[in-house]
């Protein structure tokens, strides 16, 4: 456990430069944004643009002074949870984003769940049926699934499932879990295809490894061999992929939230982008960067839980 703790601390420390980079990029985005934010703020609010008003707005936004100073100030603010105020509503950006974060998290969780529910049976069955017609159909389905743009799938689902069918909501998240159904499917479907493919390939690869043969030679039951020996090992690369998937997932939420009017941060962000609502965009980018980095950290940790080789390498074991 101590090894784990050490590792965690070390990973967290290596995150520092990355996070600095992330915040810097975020800051620069705002700083390089075309137009004077103060002027934008005024026009957004239908307030007359006069030099006095501009000056006031500038001070309020903290957009005067040299760049490093502004960055330092901004970073201090961010550390205190202050991300500025939204151009459109005048509310604090942090409150706006945090208020919508649970919805996005729910959606992402739903997407992941759908992904696993679809991918695991598909991938396993395809691997066990290797070479049969079923496997080929499975492979093709998976490839087709991965090729359908999620926005298109979402529209199809709305038109042909939600609207004709009673009780399946078209949009929003008011109806409880059932509202989550279609957005999750839209989000998880394409990824499920990727994972089913990957799982199939991994299972096949693992199933022909020596230790499976060794397990058979020792008279273990087939269920034990697949469950205990094949599956877990086939999962390890799957976990590695999760890091990349998180990116797709977070990116996907943007589209899905827009189509299904899901009140999450993704939609907020798109609207902000369209609206050139820079503080909100900035907050969103920062949040996504943080979330992505944290998720990858967690994935890394779980990866280490699954694979003792990586876990032990720095600690007790030998050095490769």
């Amino acid at each position: 456990m101590q090894v784990m703790l050490k590792y965690l601390i070390r990973r967290l420390l290596t995150l520092v430069p990355v996070l600095l980079g992330v915040t810097f990029i975020t800051f620069i985005l705002m700083d390089l944004a075309p137009g004077d934010p103060a002027e934008i703020l005024l026009t957004r609010r239908d307030i007359e643009v006069t030099p006095e008003n501009l000056q006031l707005a500038r001070e309020a936004l903290g957009v005067d002074g040299p760049l490093p100073l502004r960055y330092a100030n901004w970073l201090l603010d961010v550390l205190q949870g202050n991300l500025g105020t939204s151009f459109t509503t005048g509310e604090p950006v942090s409150a706006e984003i945090l208020g919508r974060l649970p919805a996005t998290a729910e959606l992402a969780a739903g997407g992941l769940l759908v992904m696993f529910l679809l991918a695991f049976p598909l991938g396993t069955v395809a691997a066990l049926l290797r070479g049969t017609v079923g496997d080929h159909i499975g492979r093709l389905t998976a490839l087709v699934g991965a090729s359908i743009p999620s926005f298109y799938l979402g529209l199809l689902l709305i038109t042909y499932i939600a609207v004709p069918m009673e009780g399946i909501p078209v949009m929003g998240k008011d109806e409880g879990l059932i509202s989550l159904l279609l957005p999750s499917v839209t989000l998880g479907f394409g990824l499920a295809a990727t994972y089913a493919r990957l799982l199939r390939a991994n299972l096949l690869e693992v199933l022909q490894l020596d230790y499976i043969r060794s397990a058979r030679s020792r008279g273990l039951r087939e269920a034990v061999i697949i469950g205990r020996h094949a599956f877990r090992n086939a999962l390890i690369p799957v976990v590695t992929l999760l890091g990349i998937t998180m990116g797709h997932l977070l990116g996907g939420t943007v589209v899905v939230e827009r189509i299904f009017a899901w009140p999450g941060v993704g939609r907020l962000a798109v609207e902000a982008i369209f609206d050139r609502n820079y503080p909100v965009i900035q907050g969103y980018v920062l949040l996504m960067g943080l979330a992505f980095v944290c998720m990858n950290l967690v994935i890394d940790l779980s990866y280490r839980l699954l694979d003792p080789r990586v876990r032990m390498e720095e600690g007790e074991g030998k050095v490769s």
Binding site: T88, A105, A109, V163, I168, F274, R276, L287, V298
Partner: protein, 526 residues
């Protein structure tokens, strides 16, 4: 075995997501959730017992404006009321002011306020309260223009409010009708400032909460007309036009009500569904094509007129709008019939004339930039109109480029003035509203939309008209101004909106007026 590993993974992922949720700080308490839970519980339990009626209205824009706005919420929410409203003929109508009269010198307007009206917080509505509001509105950048001729505001009786103007202004009640005379409880008005702490008005519905695109309203039992029928009203902001209609079809919203809420092309989708009532309403909104009048080549009025001639408004309304609209023949909404002269049409389709004008006045290789606001495009087919215009220009060999931008970006672009033509919806009240917003040098929309039109003649006429006490005389000046608008064409009307809106069949007595403000008081659910 399979399942064990699987659940391990699912568990890990769940932990991961929870972690991401709790990143930063704990989510603020969510009053909405309680509310929602309440709603859910109550709707779910015993439908037989008619406990709470909830009406959810889908709208295409956010009606929540926030504390810095003149009214905090849009008027359609029925949370606040103004002193004055307009009737069908666009004449002032009493609202919170029971009676409006003019003093002898024609400079002081006397508003007799309705008695027995209380704000949602229990504060009484009286002349002092109204005065505080007027003072705030006058300071407020969004409404300062409406009060620019005001000299003084006085509470002369408990329910008598006098507004003294610098000069006679016959249209003053119209000028301050609806938004510019919105009344809020003095408790929420920032002393000496313009901010509102909360939208505490006098309307049939009280503001309860705003969260996740929804404005939650509760019935005001102490409303001066009596208690409204529906207990809760929710305004749900659904920016996407497709989602809006889908939501109505699926019954997730009970009504779609706002200007441009249903695009004409969506009508076939809703027609023939027995559970849905499709309604139409002529509104004061018109779609204009406006020019950046300082940019060559559209700095030349002839070019502007030429471009206008290329639009076959009849065809446009018939095909693109499926007839839901009226081809524009004047700059002012046909609802203001009185102010429009009898000419057949000032803006008819004349491709030959247009082509001639452009041929004569356009130099080679001049590229026209057409700006489209895509936020509006979700409520009016502006992008299609732009593409139509592009094609027509193309036929004459004029190159053009369409830039499609959402609200914020669009406004920025307008500010920079890097465009030639754009389209916008605009809702006016009375003719002065139109002319002093669009034609007066340096005035509101003329400036903020980047038209930058300036004409001394127009300025003089507008000043003159607004002070002209004689209605007939005033009308004539407006005819003159319409001639001038046609001649200079800083902006030309395209069509007048006929808004399609809809409700589920169980929503009764639900109607939108020409200001697309739904009257929620009489509405009930069956």
């Amino acid at each position: 075995m399979l399942s064990r590993s699987f659940f391990k993974i699912v568990f890990l992922l769940t932990v991961l997501l929870l972690l991401s949720v709790t990143v930063g700080c704990e989510p603020a308490e969510d009053p909405l959730e309680d509310l929602e839970e309440d709603l859910e519980e109550e709707t779910a339990e015993e439908p037989a017992e008619k406990t709470e009626q909830i009406l959810t209205i889908g709208v295409g824009r956010d009606f929540y404006y926030g504390s810095e706005d003149r009214t905090y919420l849009h008027g359609s929410t029925n949370v606040w009321e103004g002193l004055v409203y307009l009737d069908e003929n666009l004449e002032p109508e009493s609202w919170l002011a029971e009676d409006i009269s003019l003093s002898q010198d024609e400079k002081t307007w006397i508003f007799q306020l309705r008695e027995g009206v209380v704000f949602h917080d229990g504060a009484a509505f009286n002349a002092e309260a109204a005065k505080a509001n007027i003072i705030r509105l006058r300071k407020h950048p969004q409404t300062a223009d409406n009060y620019k001729y005001m000299e003084e505001v006085r509470a002369t009786g408990t329910h008598t409010l006098e507004i003294e103007l610098k000069k006679p202004l016959p249209a003053f009640p119209v000028l301050i009708s609806y938004f510019p005379s919105a009344m809020f409880s003095p408790e929420v008005i920032e002393t000496g400032g313009t901010e509102l702490a909360a939208p505490v008005g006098t309307g049939p519905y009280k503001f309860a909460d705003y969260s996740q695109d929804r404005i939650y309203l509760e019935a005001n039992p102490d409303y001066w007309k009596g208690e409204p029928n529906i207990d809760q009203v929710v305004f749900h902001h659904i920016p996407d036009e497709g989602t809006r209609v889908a939501a109505l079809r699926a019954g997730e919203v009970d009504a779609l009500a706002d200007v441009g809420i249903i695009l004409p092309e969506q009508v076939p989708e809703l027609e023939g569904i027995p559970e849905i009532n499709l309604l139409t309403q002529e509104v004061l909104t018109s779609i204009y094509m406006f020019f950046q009048t300082e940019n060559a080549p559209v700095d030349n009025p002839a070019v502007r007129r030429g471009i206008s001639k290329l639009l076959d408004r009849e065809e446009l309304v018939n095909s693109l709008l499926d007839g839901y609209g009226e081809p524009a023949r004047a700059v002012i909404s046909p609802l203001a019939e009185y102010w429009i002269d009898d000419q057949e049409s000032r803006y008819d389709y004349d491709p030959e004339e247009g082509s001639r004008l452009l041929d004569e006045n356009l130099e080679e290789n001049e590229k026209i930039t057409i700006l489209v606001n895509s936020s509006w495009a979700a409520r009016w087919p502006l992008s299609s109109i732009a593409q139509y215009l592009q094609t027509e220009l193309d036929k004459l060999g004029v190159e053009s480029e369409i830039k499609s931008l959402e609200m914020g970006a669009y406004n920025e672009e307008l500010g920079k003035g890097d465009f030639h033509v754009s389209f916008c919806p605009w809702t006016g009240q009375d003719p002065d509203d139109f002319f002093s917003s669009w034609l007066l040098s340096g005035s509101g929309f003329n400036q903020s939309r980047g038209v930058n039109f300036s004409s001394e003649e127009a300025d003089e006429l507008i000043q003159e008209a607004v002070q002209e006490m004689d209605r007939e005389e005033r009308r004539k000046i407006y005819f003159q101004l319409q001639d001038l608008a046609e001649e200079k064409a800083p902006l030309v009307p395209v069509y007048h909106d006929l808004t399609v809106y809809a409700t589920r069949d169980y929503v009764k007595d639900f109607q939108m007026d020409f200001n697309f403000r739904p009257d929620l008081f009489p509405a009930y659910l069956e």
